[in-house]
Symmetry: C2
Subunit: 760 residues, 2 copies
């Protein structure tokens, strides 16, 4: 096994494998994403989700409510499938290359994570007996974010003659529609209309407009083939076609370089001229240079994003795959975030959820803090819309972030497991605070972060109320969507407690400096509100059962009967696909970590004893029907010193997409799970915590591992943490960082080697 | 003011008045309903809801869910607007009669409730100066349920010459669509397609089919005009037209009799031949005979449905109007029930709700028990679908009636204030039990009623569970829709307690007789289940607050803050139109009677002291945003001896439709409120209760009334109850009925005069 290359060499030409590999081998860079479809297409009857997406580019469609009550959402944003520039037909003489005909002598497909491209290699014998070796390299450039390239090499093995490529640039595309899924309307999938076609030299440009959201996208294509004999360009209704003919000798290799540049009006007013500039720049630089820059970018990435298990190469490759996908998925400017499926498919319509802050942000804040910063800037950008959203929900003050969105408006069609998840506010606040703790970057806090913290904190005060001298939050939904609209959800309350405390604390610290006077005026904040924050935080009611010694998920949770797991047949999981939400709501049964997640994020707010008793309690009633669950159980198991359980919960979720364990990777990768796996090792096994007084570690080492190491960036310093017989912390620079190992304080200057315990 | 005629003589030709009067003067008989539209139509730009409906005849349309979760409903039934046979154009010479031209010398519109028809009378002067007196009498026959007639009389005041009627029979119709209401889709309103047109002699028949539900409707029209000069019949795409010319002398009166017969395939397989038979029968009998039969029917009705206030004729007329509407609205066979809007409009899509059993059934069970029986037979007819519905909601046993339906399938698009209202089960059970108590008709109980009781009782056992030795029902919605999906809703629990007790009791009584052996086998009932019913009933948890001495609406209700009524501007009522349901859910605020309704229906299950304290508590937090609320508060006020409050709560809700106080009578009458007013007097002021051991009465007399009287049928005997200085009970037959007056036992043999208290 190669360390940096994820490779498959079996070729199963069925829908399931085709669709899966379109996701697995998609190319993306955080700005654009292209599914790994075959350039030559599939024969009729085969399914494909032939998608190209730009992060943040959406269309709006009607979302009818079966019954319209006040404030119910009536339109939603959907990520738009933009122009299809993947298409390249190859003709060998008069025979068209196709995997479904002729015979395949050799086949492989790989993702090279050091170089940042995918490769498909085929040795193919045509029906008439011509043998070609084809090598197709695809790249979404991390350096030129608008650029996607296809390098299409053909080598003749046993013939000489004419080769023809037909390279297509299709403007008329639509989103994926599964006829069997009643939720995907036929009419709703056409989101983009080509408006203008421009050809300039050998480059073609299509300017398209979204049908309702008023956005423009320009797609540009340039085909470069040095030895071509003839080239013909023609237009059809659907797009632009270029036929390139070339003579090939036996054993000769020829190649076509296809450059795609995508630009959009969300980021640049004139997306056509922007595309022209970029196209000229990148083609002038050439593909070799682009590959070189890609490698430099990735060298830097892998140098920071170190996470290695000593002695388990399969695991390491899967971890690398996951981290690489996070890099491919994450937005790198303020116009976007990271979608549940990254840029690899249309699942969840390309929406951003709390996953971004709670599952994915932690990886970036520890490795690429500037990307973490972008994620927060995106949230700041939509703060005004969050304030509007709060109004719709009845609030007179504050902001409520949308449960799911692209451009900032709530797109959740079912508020019970959507808008009612008020914890999105404290999740975003948590990310702001984590960012501050890991970077001490006050600049972001002063200009954006604190405003987010304060406006979202206001919402808690407006939502909750005092009853019997405690602060209660009624009628919200916690992370676990099997019980909705509950009172005093432990997770929500504890997260609000933390959020309110930090909002007040950062306010008080910064107020002194005079740096936030402008902000205070802008949002009309009074000192009294800060007192309200502090009081609500202090008086926050946290459900606790004396009898069981656990934190109930909500006030009434324990008075419900426990779900009858014995009587539930295997095929009835995930439960949400087999039971009405009203029925599920009547039981103690959890889709995912809820109280247990609170123990990870807010570990200092509950005793280990209660955490342990609760953990055992929730273990028995959690189905992990969500892919966001087991990683959290793993982390908390680690925190409780339950090493075997921690490893068990990690289980094969590290291979969730590679092995398609949830059977829906065709719709896109599971980015939250990928981030969750990172956390399960770094926050879980290593016990990392970034707190006010320094770095915390409580490393555990699974029996089957020799050791592991990872790197983090803390206050700008790169630290390497290695766990094997000992626990070694290294920093190349001379620093003075407080480190708490298993709770004991040390100081890291340059190198710190400490004893590792086997149990905690 | 005439005692039996509701009349208006002002004519305001605006949309608001036109639409209102279409409802107020609609003709219906429980089978068919025709809105009171002008025969001659309205000019362009005026709005009309030109509707003709058949009770139980529905179409199915798609109901998309914004987010589709398991078990969410995806189609709904809608009452169908069938062929329009109201149309009659009148030409005087070459001038077309129209209220919007010429001048109106005299105008009135009336509903004659003794004779059972509506009359519109106009003296009109045409632009050219011809004066006609027009008298249009419309009747929906109670005796021939398929028959609707229009008698169109014209008298010439000052001219002689040609009169022309054009009588139309339009098959191409559609349901009402308000373009401003986003909930009414344009595409969804066409529910019926004319398929076949037949003319036979001077009668025309149109057979139409619903587009999706597979039902057929036949509409037949016959125009009879004895003195006609000429008659021409022609067809256009939309229907059949008949032009009838007649010569008229000065001061002569001529008339056209238009018979409409409607039949349907739900009730008769061959609806065409059925229509032919009926048309022949009714035209042979003639209109005079039909009027005579109508009067006989209504004489009987008014003889039974006595409810008179001594000394307030305005009130009496309004009461009569309400009772007449109930008779017009109620279904009289097993294929239908009584819709929220009766047969007077398309509001709530013609659905049947719990109103039928809790608000309207009580009037019929006391006056026309055979109609009450029909309502129960309808519920029996859809029992299998209720069992299917229970399965969708996750239950393995029992039946859950749909919250809203026509043919039996759940049509609620938003389960929180729909399917989650499990109390529909105990509401229907309550009606079965009331029917039994008032009639002792064991035949219905043995063959249908008990099966309903048992299957619905099973659902409670499957829904609830034991916790701390009490039986709890979690995650249901009570009648008050401002707090949804709550735990241990007092109303639901107390109603289930009563329901379970009665299901077991009637089972035990009938088991002895051997009459239900077949039923027991059919539904596979075990003795153990009956024990479960009894135990659950006995152990039912009923929320009670020691501190306040009240029954909280649900477990968590009192821990929520009270809604800030002071800060709520008037224009923000009804709250549901101005606040998100999630926001409302967070407060102590009630849309309608909930716990208070339980005190009326289940008065023996709580002490008067707690009822009184609770009543005062809920008074302060109930907005009465539902038209089902104040009548219940009035009843309970009476029960608590709060006479002034009782009168105050009745207020002007007796005029709700006549005065259009809710501003939406255009969409149809409020049948539940009409039944509620009846109850407010009979069950409230008179304190009537039909219980196991006899009749209960605790009459109160409002200061402004001299007295009141009403009649009820009890065990087949007609009793008259009169309240003035004394309380007098009369039965024409010799009986022996136990009567409890203010709790004291008496025996009614033939005549019983008892002292009336002024306070209780």
């Amino acid at each position: 096994m190669e360390k940096w290359i994820y490779k498959i060499d079996n070729l199963e030409l069925n829908n399931s494998d085709n669709l899966l590999n379109e996701t697995i081998f998609h190319n993306a860079n955080g700005y654009l994403g292209i599914r790994g479809c075959f350039e030559e297409g599939y024969p009729k009857g085969y399914e494909t989700i032939r998608g190209t997406y730009i992060n943040g580019i959406y269309n709006i469609s009607e979302m009818k409510q079966a019954e319209q009550l006040y404030g119910f959402i009536n339109e939603k944003q959907t990520i738009v499938n933009v122009a299809d520039t993947q298409g390249i037909q190859l003709l060998i003489g008069d025979e068209r290359f196709h995997l479904f005909e002729g015979s395949i002598i050799n086949y492989s497909r790989s993702l090279d994570m050091k170089n940042g491209y995918t490769i498909r290699e085929i040795i193919w014998k045509s029906p008439k007996g011509k043998i070609v070796q084809i090598r197709i390299k695809r790249m979404a450039s991390f350096v030129e974010k608008n650029l996607f390239t296809v390098e299409y090499e053909v080598k003749s093995i046993n013939f000489k003659g004419l080769l023809t490529w037909i390279s297509t640039h299709i403007g008329k595309v639509q989103n994926y529609s599964n006829q069997e899924d009643p939720r995907v309307a036929k009419g709703a999938v056409k989101h983009l209309e080509p408006k203008k076609v421009v050809t300039e030299g050998d480059a073609s440009y299509i300017i398209s407009e979204t049908t309702t959201s008023g956005l423009k996208v320009c797609s540009a294509v340039r085909n470069i083939c040095s030895d071509k004999k003839n080239s013909t360009v023609w237009r059809e209704k659907t797009g632009i076609f270029e036929k390139i003919e070339i003579d090939i000798q036996k054993e000769e290799t020829v190649s076509l370089k296809k450059y795609t540049v995508l630009t959009d009006s969300l980021r640049e007013t004139d997306c056509l001229s922007n595309a022209e500039v970029i196209m000229n720049r990148v083609t002038r630089a050439g593909l070799t240079e682009m590959y070189r820059l890609q490698k430099i970018y990735l060298d830097d990435f892998w140098n920071r994003a170190v996470l290695e298990i000593d002695g388990n190469e399969e695991l390491n490759l899967a971890i690398k795959y996951n981290l690489f996908q996070l890099l491919q998925s994450v937005g790198k400017d303020e116009y976007c975030s990271v979608a549940a499926k990254g840029l690899s498919g249309e699942g969840y319509e390309g929406h951003y959820f709390w996953d971004a802050e709670i599952y994915i942000f932690p990886f970036f804040v520890l490795t690429y803090p500037h990307i973490a910063r972008n994620l927060l800037e995106y949230r700041y950008r939509i703060l005004d819309q969050a304030k509007e959203n709060a109004k719709i929900l009845g609030h007179t003050k504050g902001a409520l972030y949308p449960w799911r969105t692209i451009a900032g408006k709530e797109c959740s069609g079912y508020f019970l497991s959507g808008s009612a998840q008020y914890h999105i506010n404290s999740d975003i606040a948590y990310a702001v605070i984590q960012y501050y703790l890991a970077t001490k970057d006050l600049d972001l806090i002063v200009h954006k972060g604190l405003e987010i913290l304060l406006e979202t904190a206001r919402l808690w005060v407006d939502t909750g109320h005092y009853y019997q001298d405690q602060f209660h939050i009624m009628s919200v939904t916690g992370p676990d969507e099997y019980t909705c609209m509950v009172n005093d959800n432990y997770f929500t309350n504890v997260s609000a407690k933390y959020h309110l405390k930090w909002a007040a604390r950062l306010y008080r610290v910064l107020k002194e400096t005079g740096k936030i006077d402008k902000l205070i005026r802008k949002i009309d904040l009074t000192e009294n509100e800060i007192l309200e924050f502090e009081q609500a935080s202090e008086k926050m009611y946290l459900p606790y059962s004396e009898e069981l010694g656990i934190n109930p998920q909500d006030t009434d949770f324990l008075s419900k009967p426990v779900w009858d797991f014995k009587k539930t047949p295997k095929e009835n999981y995930p439960l949400l696909l087999h039971y009405h939400p009203l029925y599920l709501n009547r039981f103690q049964v959890c889709k995912q970590a809820d109280t247990v997640l609170a123990y990870f994020l807010y570990e200092d707010m509950q005793s280990r004893e209660v955490m342990r008793t609760s953990f055992e309690y929730y273990e028995k009633i959690t189905t992990h029907d969500s892919s966001l669950s087991t990683c959290i159980f793993s982390i908390v198991a680690s925190k409780l010193g339950l090493l075997e359980k921690a490893v068990e919960y990690m289980g094969d979720s590290i291979y969730l997409d590679l092995h398609n364990t949830h059977k829906n990777t065709k719709d896109g990768i599971h980015t939250a799970n990928m981030g969750g796996i990172y956390m399960a090792i770094v926050y879980g096994l290593a016990g990392l915590g970034i707190k006010e007084d320094g770095i915390y570690l409580s490393p555990l080492l699974p029996k089957t591992w020799n050791g592991y190491k990872f790197k983090i960036v803390y206050e700008g310093y790169e630290l390497e943490i290695e766990v094997n017989e000992v626990c070694r912390l290294t920093c190349k620079e001379e620093v003075n960082i407080p480190v708490y190992l298993y709770g004991e304080r040390y100081s890291l200057n340059n190198n710190l080697v400490l004893e590792k315990k086997n149990e905690i």
